[in-house]
Amino acid sequence: MSGFKKAFVLVAALGLAACSNTSWNDAGAGGAGGSGTAGSNLDPASPAYFQETIGDRVLFLIDQSTLNPEAEAILQGQARWLTSNSDYVVTIQGHADEQGTREYNLALGARRANSAREYLISQGVAGSRIQVVSYGKERPLEICSAESCYAKNRRAVTVLAGGLTG
């Protein structure tokens, strides 16, 4: 199944990227690309599959809201999933790391969430299904004050809502 293959490539790519970080063991938090494996036996229509196998989040560089190729690949997977699971709506949560003021980070999180939203729309997901919200630096996943944590906190997370099996 091509979805599996795609996810596998994705995880591998992110695994490589993660080599520069010393603490990539983010199973609980999901992490970019998710912590699922290509051999996952999750129901492909389940939210768990969306979160873990496709990946529910994309990461950003410092102060940036542009999507890199890995992020675009994840969002392509999200868009395909949302197209075949049309009962779901999503809220994209934009986040920033703790470097920066509270207000600026709220605005930056809004930019990031919107980048992900625009990309999903470009992939055919109806804009009416996608809300965005920014948490700025208020909801860090990782709590160390180092780039290894900051890199995971600069994220846009696609949260599913609704759906018959949701």
Partner: protein
């Protein structure tokens, strides 16, 4: 609910400067004087023997009031108390002549005496100030009356009067701070609004921690607070009546994020940020009618707006140049001029109540600073440096800045600090838990 305090001011001459800012008339008060604008200040030694208890019920309060007055004055860094153990004279009669020689001998340049009486719930505090080395009274005596549960405020009012007489500027002790109280670990932080006296006493919680709340801001009279709440799931601006603890949402558009609100000096308009389509711009809203005006329209981030005290201009933060910098524009919008040109990133500008300075957060080389600059951007001065300092707020007299300092790492915690505008007297502000986003009220009436 705030207890009522009626101030009966014995001297009309002194009543006005007590409640207004920066009286020039007081500058000719006499030789005893602290010029705060001078470079290095040697704190002025003063004595405040325990106020006399004129009724048996006043015994405890007389001591407590005296200690709050001393804490206010000592906390400025401008005054140094000559401890009671060094006193030669005792004051046993509020109306008896002062033995100046005894106070000169312990080098107390100022002397504060007072008397407290309690009748039922009624509390009366009288005080006098003396310029010891001039052998004379420092202004006329004053009397404050109110109820016993307002004793702290009366102590603060006495300290404000003393501060005002000696510095020639209005005080800041009878004021409050609204802030965000923080508990829980960094990745599960609970936040709720709280209000307290400026010195950390009398903490009251205004919201529960069910919804994330951020950045409360006082109205110009201190009766209302604007803040950002995620109660609906999206950041939206709420307004809260401090006395009644009633709140309502101001910006209720579903799915639209609004944040960083601040009152205009007229208390009727609010300037704030709204994010739509990922782009954050500045808007104003009339609180009564809800009608909105868009002030900026740019693809860059515009946020953290703050009015000049006369309401004619707005200073704000924008990354239109590529990094966050400070800009000033007319309150009606239009072209903005950049005022920050130093190295690093600038944010959260706040216009001082005197109108002469803008306080800001600066981020440079991995450190955060609280700083001040003139409104044209000149004479930038950094007052603090740490891993994370942000969100300055001005004391009502424009002399002291309170801000959030957060420590780094997994156990990082936010606390409130204050520093004066010359960068001196940096110290933590006591709060029961973690605390952030302070906003200082005007002097209470």
């Amino acid at each position: 609910m705030r207890r009522k305090l009626t101030a009966l001011v014995a001297s009309l001459l002194l009543a006005a400067p007590l409640l207004t800012s920066g009286s020039a008339a007081l500058a000719q008060n006499g030789p005893l004087r602290i010029e705060i604008t001078d470079g290095v200040i040697e704190p002025l030694p003063y004595a405040v023997p325990d106020f006399l208890a004129e009724t048996p019920a006043a015994a405890d309060l007389a001591n407590q009031i005296t200690r709050v007055i001393a804490a206010d004055l000592n906390g400025t860094g401008l005054f140094r108390e000559v401890p009671a153990t060094a006193h030669i004279s005792t004051v046993s009669d509020f109306n008896a002549p002062v033995k100046f020689a005894d106070w000169k001998a312990v080098n107390a340049q100022a002397l504060i005496t007072g008397a407290v009486s309690v009748n039922g719930k009624q509390l009366t505090v009288r005080f006098r100030g003396y310029d010891v080395f001039a052998d004379k009274e420092l202004g006329a005596g004053l009397q404050f009356s109110g109820t016993t549960d307002g004793w702290r405020r009366m102590a603060h009012k006495v300290a404000d009067a003393i501060y005002s007489r000696i510095t020639g500027e209005s005080g800041y002790f009878d004021s409050r701070v609204v802030f965000v109280s923080e508990t829980g670990p960094k990745n599960d932080r609970r936040k709720r609004l709280a209000i307290m006296d400026y010195d950390g006493a009398e903490v009251q919680y205004l919201t529960n921690s069910a919804a994330l709340v951020l950045a409360p801001r006082f109205s110009p009279t201190g009766d209302r607070v604007l803040y950002t709440s995620y109660e609906s799931g999206f950041p939206q601006i709420h307004v809260l009546d401090v006395g009644k603890v009633q709140r309502r949402v101001l910006s209720a558009d579903n799915g639209i994020m609004s944040f960083a609100p601040r009152f205009a000096p007229d208390g009727k308009m609010v300037v704030y940020s709204q994010a739509e389509g990922g782009n954050t711009d500045l808007y104003t809203m009339d609180i009564a009618t809800g009608s909105r005006t868009r002030l900026t329209n740019a693809p860059s981030i515009e946020t953290a707006p703050s009015y000049s005290p006369d309401g004619s201009q707005i200073v704000f933060e924008s990354d239109r140049s590529g990094s966050p910098q400070l800009y000033v524009m007319a309150a009606s919008g239009g072209e903005a001029r950049r005022i920050s040109f130093g190295k690093g990133r600038y944010g959260t500008p706040v216009w001082s109540p005197r109108g002469d300075l803008i306080a800001f957060t600066k981020q440079n080389k991995g450190r955060f600073h609280i700083g001040v600059m003139r409104v044209d951007g000149s004479e930038e001065r950094l007052l603090t440096a740490s891993f994370l300092d942000e969100g300055p707020t001005w004391s009502p007299n424009g002399r002291v800045i309170m801000f959030t300092r957060e420590t780094q790492g997994a156990n990082g915690r936010a606390l409130l600090y204050s520093v004066d505008i010359l960068g001196r007297n940096l110290k933590p502000v006591r709060t029961p838990d973690g605390a952030s986003d302070p906003a200082w009220s005007p002097l209470q009436q």
